[in-house]
Amino acid sequence: MTTSVLYESPGPRAKRRALFTSIAVSAVLIGVAVWAVLRLAAAGQFTVDKWGPLIDPTNATFGPVWNLLAQGLVNTLQAAALSIALSLVIGTALALTRITSAAWYRWAVVGVVELLRGVPVVMTIFFAARVLPDYGLDLPLLWYLVIGLTAYNSVIIAEIVRAGVLSLPKGQSEAAYAIGMRRSQVLLTVLLPQAFRAMLPALISQLVVVLKDTSLGYVISYPEFVQQGKYVIQNLDNPIQVYFVIALVFIAINHSLSRLAVFTERRLGRGRRTTTTPAKKQEPVGAATGN
């Protein structure tokens, strides 16, 4: 661990004091945990009835329950994969038009970006599911969810890609023009590949956001992970246990993705120093928001 500049490396007295405080803090934490466990136990939350179907493979309902949940997880991953693929394509197109086009068109794109960024994702999903059928566009539920998620995330990805292109050293495009490339060639073969490389960590972080937001398929009754959990709960009456398992799965997947983003960032950072120096440090857009 790196030593913080906020405090001195402790002497013997500070060490003793830190040890005592640590023990006291741990005691309080353990106390809270024990209290919670006791309350849960008193409420009958640790019975085989509640947990068996989820963790005991010999339990009669274990198979059906996990079939339901696994189907939900597959649906969730499917919606997330489709949304991120579509968002990448549309987002890149948006970013390119914003970089290259005439002013009035650029402003139209900026308008769309600002509009979609200001609307809650759950609202775009709800909007797609309620409004599109009124206009004769009857799609499977999956597509309403994908359209809603894409509406928001393509805009975020557009900003990420744009920031990536703008962060490249000017010499890259100048050199490409100098050897006689056209503007489209410069963008597609020189700038975009580098921009994607630079923005890979931010893009992976955005995957976490998409994966979490697929749970909003719940609102339109798309049979994703949380929705399937609801069916299990309706039959077995074990909300705490099911939501605990669902939360655990989400945290495991998303935490791995976050680690992957950090890992990628570090690797790219190392490669970067030896090849080119970035023109200026670019904050990854969207990676730090609370979505």
Partner: protein
């Protein structure tokens, strides 16, 4: 668009409820997030562990699941409340993880010399954090913190979807599902309601950012 003008009081009520949820959640999230950020940089290992797990759990778990946990878990622990309380609390817990990370990145951005100087004149951990480092950190994290709060305003719609009555999202749901109004005008009204909050908030953020930026 008649449906919007006819139901204007309903919409305004929804807007007010959404703002109320956001005010309470925002304040609580700022306080909790700052405490967790202090935990994460503290010299005590157990506190750091609490901060780290807090952030990892709430940042990686969908808000909907957090809300369900509040609504179904807390009553089992003998804590009862309305959906408004559970929703606001859940939103605050979820947002606090992002607030914590924003503030922590700000703390890391403060030049080490500042903290070293604070220690050199004899300030302890608490004093150097609260008097020297945090004030500078908070000013430099106004932009990400603002994005977090705007995201929270948008996330309040999820709290509405989960069952808080009378907020902006549930106004739309009520008018389309229960009263059978055409979806497009009703939901356009709801979208406008959110834009009325989020776009000025974004502009305000830009102004504030320029005002308090730390010159380095």
């Amino acid at each position: 668009m008649r449906v919007i003008t006819d139901n204007l009081p309903l919409y305004l009520n929804g807007l007010a409820t959404t703002l109320r949820i956001c005010l309470y959640s925002g304040l609580l999230a700022l306080v909790l997030g700052t405490i967790m950020a202090a935990f994460r940089v503290s010299p005590l290992a157990p506190l750091r562990a609490v901060g780290t797990s807090w952030v990892n759990v709430f940042r990686n778990c969908p808000l909907l699941v957090v809300l369900f946990f509040m609504a179904f878990g807390l009553p089992e622990l003998g804590i009862n409340g309305s959906y408004f309380v559970f929703g606001t609390l859940g939103l605050a817990l979820y947002t606090s993880a992002f607030v914590c990370e924003a503030i922590r990145s700000g703390i890391n951005a403060v030049p080490p010399g500042q903290a070293e100087a604070a220690r050199a004149i004899g300030l302890g951990f608490g004093q150097s954090l609260s008097l020297i480092v945090l004030p500078q950190a908070v000013r430099s994290v106004i932009p990400p913190l603002g994005s977090v709060l705007i995201a929270m305003i948008k996330n309040s719609a999820i709290a509405g979807a989960f069952g808080i009555g009378g907020d902006l999202f549930s106004v739309g749901e009520n008018l389309t599902s229960a009263q059978g109004e055409a979806a497009l005008p009703v939901l356009t009204g709801v979208v406008l309601g959110y834009l009325i909050i989020t776009i000025p908030a974004g502009l305000l953020l830009g102004i504030l950012e320029r005002k308090v930026a730390v010159a380095r």
